[in-house]
Symmetry: C2
Subunit: 479 residues, 2 copies
Amino acid sequence: MPPEEFRAAAHRAADLMADYLQGVGAYDVVPKIAPGAVRAELPASPPEQGEGIDGILADYKRLIEPNVTHWNHPGFLAYFAITGSGPGVLGEALAASLNVNAMLWRTGPAPTELEETVCDWLRQAIGLPPEFAGHINDTASISTMLALAAARHRLPGLQIRERGLAGRRDLAALTVYASDQAHSSVDKAAIALGIGLENVRKVPSDKRFRMDAQALRVALRDDRAAGRLPVAVVATAGTTSTTSVDPLREIAGICAEAGVWLHVDAAYAGSACVCPEFRALLDGLECADSIVTNPHKWLFTPVDCSVLFVRDPKLLREAFSLVPEYLRTSETGATNLMDYGVQLGRRFRSLKLWMVMRYFGLEGLRARIRSHVAMAQVFAARVDAEPGFERCAPAPFSTVCFRAVPEHLRHDPAAQDAFNEKLLAEVNAAGPVFLSHTKLRGRYVLRLTIGNLRTEARHVDAAWELVLKRAEFLRNAKG
Amino acid sequence: MPPEEFRAAAHRAADLMADYLQGVGAYDVVPKIAPGAVRAELPASPPEQGEGIDGILADYKRLIEPNVTHWNHPGFLAYFAITGSGPGVLGEALAASLNVNAMLWRTGPAPTELEETVCDWLRQAIGLPPEFAGHINDTASISTMLALAAARHRLPGLQIRERGLAGRRDLAALTVYASDQAHSSVDKAAIALGIGLENVRKVPSDKRFRMDAQALRVALRDDRAAGRLPVAVVATAGTTSTTSVDPLREIAGICAEAGVWLHVDAAYAGSACVCPEFRALLDGLECADSIVTNPHKWLFTPVDCSVLFVRDPKLLREAFSLVPEYLRTSETGATNLMDYGVQLGRRFRSLKLWMVMRYFGLEGLRARIRSHVAMAQVFAARVDAEPGFERCAPAPFSTVCFRAVPEHLRHDPAAQDAFNEKLLAEVNAAGPVFLSHTKLRGRYVLRLTIGNLRTEARHVDAAWELVLKRAEFLRNAKG
């Protein structure tokens, strides 16, 4: 692309981006299309001849932009709401123009050192001690997989890196522990690592959806007695359903006693620790062997940006480092980020996090996290005060689990589930808000979460009004 | 970030990007800095107060841009040279502004369907039959890991997903086969998957650095006889050292006979198949069970974009799909891309590939691949014609392996190695070009590769002139 053509197109793209971010609230959060609708508009085969960039950008505006789910919409209150903030978006754009693959220090000196630096900034920001070193992965799924691989590697005398797991008489079943509220990424890591789904012990959670530490202690003891080999415990700080936090300090004590690796999945709630007042909820976090937290979740950084902190990065390096001849370099004292995981190729992800942390500053990050939590607390209080509704879990951060309990269905939990499922569909069909759901103790529960910088009190109010109205409509429809 | 502030900053970023891409050739390819130099310029702690975007962009321009290795430089002739072309960069910028996580169809309808469509475009472009379905991963390392996990999952009656690999009497050592020229990602996948490095059989390669298919046949037979369990063969189409291509059709026949999965690592040479005349070099590719090819390598798409084609995507889904309640949706007939691998979160990577394929068209892509190959052939011919130099491997695509063989060292291979290592350091220290190296049959070899759209014949000529001059200088310095 000739330089001046690129410049003009980049300015057009800048306006497309700015227009979108300015006007995103005018869309329905979820586009009202059926599967296949976009595909039907796309040619079945690639073009033989090249096309002008203006036509491509026009198609983007016409066909792509309206048909994404608008994660930037102020009414996006589902899953974990996220924000690709302005400085983060610009960081991604600049990184794309550099197109650096920072697999080695030599192939990306500034990206390597910026990654080390901003991970250390983040470490300080969330109050972790200096012995933790971080690096950036694409997702928490990969971060957790790498952490469990390091735990597996640490098992003494087994040489799993060299000898693998299969066909060995000297190996017991490797076992991983997580609460019944833990994220599916623990299961996926167990599949990938050859541990197996059956060997992920789902430790029961208590009434507040936190891992029952005593049950963990018993499971570890019984498994050892039965000849199993515990590899790691994955505690969660901010579970996906309710944002509950496992009792980290108690679990850490049990892990230390048992000589088992403690990995903490703080993908969501780690960001809350930029506010000192939330650190008490994650008390004991600093006792972990590894911690994942995702700035792309609640720290206003575009996907993908997942930071894995490890107390002893040497273990990760020993588990994964393999330097083929064509990647040998002579620099001493340099970090080669490819040594810390499976992936050789590495995008320049630290740039966006650096720009986000500088643009907002710690004060700005804290203020926004606090505002999200405050809005969620107001919403929780409304649920609590509303007859015909109940809150289904504590709301320590910015996520509220609740359900309608219509009077006429008070004694029929299955019918309540069906009612709430319909209620969610009705609310989401309206357009301006998007909530999600989960199941808690077998019951269908609605979930509202706040994590987008564009979300203001009025959007949360509107969501609540809509829930009330649609619930009333459904109650009346039933008679 | 207020909308008008974002708009202004996005236009500034557009100019930064355009200026960079226009002027990148004025930099040395590799910045002349020592490890720690960038870090020393960065504050040790994150700022408390937020800062203006202009200052951040100024620091980017001052501290980051000059201190990356310039993969966009026309003189970048190392590793595999890549290009983040204009339309690809704009695709990344637009995707960042959407900030979609297309884990589910519902959370990204257009991204999901565009990914299906452009992967099918790419399938057609490289001449694969319609039974292959593709999806996009971040890296070939992950694509290969997923392919091997699918192969492992296909082993009959073993329930590895459920039961794992460890502590089982019914499992032999799982074994994977690749040539001694295969990429380290095969080894890393074997570590991650619990197969173990010892269980990656490095099948010898022939004089042209292609897997010796008969040696593979023998290894499979002997291993089975010894009670091992072959899982997969990884053949390479475009090895990292020499871009040799394993005899795919012959290997496919052996795999079919042995009932073993064939994965083809075509991360580099897959792109060459957009030109029909190169498909003969990859004859038999269509017999594979899975194929990885990286548009971020030689198809002008910014990192990261690795496409994994699988003949039977159901196997990948069966190996990895896990749908927790909070991600259950009701759409029928929709693909949920999270089901095909470890990672739940997914960036909108198909947008850039769509824009690249439309902007260049198949004709434009072919013309550029051909031009790169032609320049490499000219370079190879110069090496062949030059006394005191020798070519060290066939150059079927755009990569040439060569070394100096100075007369005074003709009978001292170790001294030749040292000479070539010094020669590479001298050439790279000059600034305008960046070559890399490898070892072939134990000998130190220089590597020149062409993959950047900015590279013209004059840059390759200049590289050769520089090599000749520095070699002469070194010869003279020795006396």
